[in-house]
Symmetry: C2
Subunit: 309 residues, 2 copies
Amino acid sequence: MTNGKSNGEAGTSQALSSQNVKALFDSVEAFLFDCDGVIWKGDKLIEGVPETLEMLRSKGKKLVFVTNNSTKSRKQYAQKFQSLGLAVSEDEIFSSSYAAAMFLKTNDFPPEKKVYVIGEEGILEELELAGFTGLGGPEDGKKKVELKPNCLFEHDKSVGAVVVGLDQYINYYKLQYGTLCIRENPGCLFIATNRDAVGHMTDLQEWPGAGCMVAAICGSTQKEPIVVGKPSTFMMEFLLQRFQISTSKMCMVGDRLDTDILFGQNSGCKTLLVLSGVTTQSVLQDPSNNIQPDYYTSSISDIFELLGP
Amino acid sequence: MTNGKSNGEAGTSQALSSQNVKALFDSVEAFLFDCDGVIWKGDKLIEGVPETLEMLRSKGKKLVFVTNNSTKSRKQYAQKFQSLGLAVSEDEIFSSSYAAAMFLKTNDFPPEKKVYVIGEEGILEELELAGFTGLGGPEDGKKKVELKPNCLFEHDKSVGAVVVGLDQYINYYKLQYGTLCIRENPGCLFIATNRDAVGHMTDLQEWPGAGCMVAAICGSTQKEPIVVGKPSTFMMEFLLQRFQISTSKMCMVGDRLDTDILFGQNSGCKTLLVLSGVTTQSVLQDPSNNIQPDYYTSSISDIFELLGP
């Protein structure tokens, strides 16, 4: 399957309807949901989500949550689901913070090397759970630099990877630290959790996403990162190990064309775009858009509305 | 003249020597100097600079200083020269902070519109001198964001341009402010003072340059900026107005291939790379480098050494 259309007419998506919803539902064993813009916006649940998830579970569908937001660990996401009244367990959650730690593990990153983090608590927590030593993160958000003669900004020479994700505490200290590690520590990896330009960090508006911080480090190092979140298919390996379901029997549901839908298509899943997040119908149907999901609909609650309880 | 070699053998630069220095000297009426890595490193003067500049002036050469560092205004640069014992007047200095203000002026930017600044004092000062209202800058370096439900981050709808330069006080507040202006204010300009990846903000080491902050805003807005500093030739128009010298009788002297030397070549100047800053001889001579200056030497003091007082 390519980035183009996978069934129906080439280059167009079908609106989800009472005519096609049953075929989609019957052909899918696992629904993969993005969270931000699909399940919630900021800290507000999107209408109709609880009944929809409950209905899917009651019909025997596997539910998986795949989020590019690296600010939380899987454990913290499970708590967030719980606080919103949704019963989702840690092992149903695949976050880009977890993906960063798993990337290092899979690639035999030496545990004696350290990982510098431009990002938030979620990355540090996942690194620790995977047995790695993280530096930086929120703590370095308070640090200041002094541009004075004879002052040398020191960095840890044993840092072997810099992980960059969304960081609301981004500052010049962290930018210099990460830049020095990547430029001066031989073989130091540059890992991006994801490159989303913006995201609904609050319910009312969008904010710069990890793509902003990642681009900053690209700008200072003139290097390109390894991306572990969507649309990279790295997380799919772990998903397949856990669920033993062919990707053709999965449907990726998300609000972003360039991450969610592309991830689904790159992995060979069916794809459903919801318009409850960052993508509008006019963006989807603009001639300049070349990422067409199989289906689109306004919100995941339409699945419930169209199929019934 | 192209990005390639302009005289001598194609694709190679000549080391400055007692054989070729006189021809260069005689053919040039104005020397254009980059500052950081050429005149000083951080706050330290590079050895041999005062006698070299003095000798050039005494032989009737015009001296011009063209810097991509936007943290200071032209007035502040004149003070810096003075503090280092060099007599350089404000109108011999062309900084990217000045270029940003001149770009707006030249393009009839409406004075009732405001300019949001991700950068330092120099940009704000030049904007004010040109009659524009700047917002942001160092002051917003203290501001924090709160990612809370029902909180709306407000921005000024009358901002018609965002100017991004080097900013040691970069934070998420400014990134969100600049991003909102560019994404939401119709026709809002995105102007970069320059895109240098790193620079000698201190004498002992390099730090992320404006290219880091500019890339961050490219990452969140998915737009490309208008660049007013080197290698853009925008500043050359002002230089020519002031000095009335043909660019073929100018020599651009700098330590960076992708800004200084490219700027010189794009403008039709002779070019001299000095190895006293960010570029090493091995980088210059690496097969992957396709920017070849006419001449290279270790430091501008070689001009003095080779020609005598």
